[in-house]
């Protein structure tokens, strides 16, 4: 849409609001790994089903927002004996001692992985590169994504909360980031949302609640770019629901001849 600039749409197609490309966000996070010595000798003969998502710490700060940051996060807890566990146990050394410790900790370790939503802000957006072009001579997109104080504060809270839970459960933290900074946070490359947000006001949003452009009656969008906000939850089901509704409304409007 940004590539298609016309006399009627000098800032790009369907972009009278200036919001096309804005409000880009995704999930981000980090991981804290713990060891629970009291589980050393447990039966780990079949731990399938205990990897990430079997334990989900959710609902944090829903009732009482944090004083340190806006928004919330969920913690995805994975535990149990899995063949890929040992690579993340950070056991130093080599030889039989290494083998013994890897085996021991693989049976009684757990990971707490944060999934938080990057706060949408004017600093996070997509635009066109004024200098660089692709092989067809068209401007390349530029992704402006910066962790901000709110994001770092949320990550610090997650590590602190995880450590409190691990300590209360008589565990020992094996791994956590040495420092929590934009460099130690990991972006989720599968959960991009935003850039075409829906809303009631054509001045501040690109699409209406049907996924239809405020500017162009026969332009509809059906993907996660329509999100106006990114919760801590995975976006797929909301994406499907919104796209499904968009398709039904599109068909209804077409039948009525409203898209000509």
């Amino acid at each position: 849409l940004l590539l298609n600039k016309t006399r009627e749409f000098p800032n790009g197609l369907a972009n009278s609001s200036g919001q096309v490309g804005q409000n880009l966000t995704s999930h981000f996070g980090l991981t804290v790994t713990a060891f629970f010595p009291q589980l050393k000798h447990r039966d780990a003969s079949n731990d399938d089903g205990t990897d990430y998502y079997h334990g989900l710490l959710s609902g944090l700060y829903w009732d009482e927002p944090s004083k340190n940051f806006e928004g919330t996060y969920q913690v995805q807890c994975g535990s149990g004996l899995h063949p890929n566990n040992p690579r993340d146990l950070y056991v130093p050394g080599f030889g039989s001692a290494l083998k013994r410790e890897l085996k021991e900790k693989a049976i009684c370790s757990a990971n707490m992985n944060m999934q938080g939503a990057l706060l949408a802000s004017p600093k996070k957006y997509v635009d066109l590169d004024p200098d660089r072009t692709d092989r067809f001579g068209l401007p390349l997109p530029r992704i402006h994504l910066h962790y901000e104080d709110n994001d770092v504060a949320m990550a610090k809270d997650m590590v602190q909360t995880s450590e409190e839970i691990i300590t209360a459960a008589r565990g020992e933290v094996i791994f956590k980031p040495r420092e929590i900074s934009p460099e130690t946070l990991a972006i989720d490359y599968n959960h991009w949302v935003g850039t075409m947000r829906m809303g009631a006001d054509p001045k501040t949003s690109v699409l209406n609640a049907d996924g239809q452009s405020h500017d162009i009656a026969n332009l509809f969008v059906g993907d996660s770019s329509v999100f106006s906000f990114n919760p801590e939850k995975n976006p797929t089901l909301t994406n499907i629901a919104l796209s499904w509704r968009m398709s039904e409304r599109l068909a209804a409007k077409a039948r009525k001849g409203e898209l000509a």
């Binding site: 039966d43 079949n46 399938d48 063949p83 080599f94």
Partner: protein, 190 residues
């Protein structure tokens, strides 16, 4: 990038996530086909580098009373296949790193790593590993990379998963017996 069929099945054999997902009657014995490994000639590394890698991984993760070691788990094969399908830069990093280990052995004992005794190899490995938690030099950084991939290859082996780690998952079962853990007998789950 193309994998030969036999190589593909050999990797499947190393990875327990393969035949174990099938019902028992549909399993094939590819994971036990040692002829694949015996006939294998390294493609990312030279033969001397490959043999050095095999000795290094066995020193890192040796056969002992807890089970087989890296040699029996074909970790060198795993690494060579991964490197073969990696970038030239990564392959060169490994070649340079292996040469650094040979140099280290020569400086300490006047001979290559392969000619060293078991205790001498452990001595070289200790020097190689000494800064792994805060790597400073190229050799330190290579040790971290070497150890990570060796651990990946070791635990990707079905032999290691079953015989050393005791992993029994990823298996199709004809009936579900419920939770059989004695720790939870006191809970009323009815």
């Amino acid at each position: 990038v193309s994998l030969q069929r036999r190589e593909f099945f050999a990797i499947l054999g190393i990875c327990a996530a393969s035949a174990e997902t099938m019902f028992a009657q549909h399993r094939h014995g590819v994971e036990d086909d040692d002829s694949v490994f015996a006939a294998y000639r390294p493609r990312a590394l030279t033969q001397p580098e490959y043999e050095l890698l095999d000795q290094l991984t066995e020193t890192l993760l040796p056969a002992d009373q807890t089970g087989p070691g890296a040699h029996e788990a074909h970790v060198a094969y795993y690494v060579d296949v991964v490197l073969y399908h990696s970038s030239a830069t990564i392959r060169q990093t490994w070649k340079t790193g292996l040469a650094l280990v040979e140099k280290l052995a020569d400086e300490r004992f006047g001979q290559g790593f392969g000619a060293c005794s078991r205790s001498q190899r452990q001595d070289v490995m200790a020097a190689f590993a000494k800064n792994e938690m805060a790597p400073q030099t190229d050799a330190d950084r290579f040790f971290v990379e070497f150890k990570r991939m060796a651990i990946d290859g070791f635990y990707a082996s079905q032999l290691i998963q079953r015989e050393h780690l005791g992993y029994r998952g990823n298996t199709a079962i004809p009936e579900f017996p419920g939770c059989t853990h004695t720790e939870f007998e006191h809970l009323d789950t009815a």
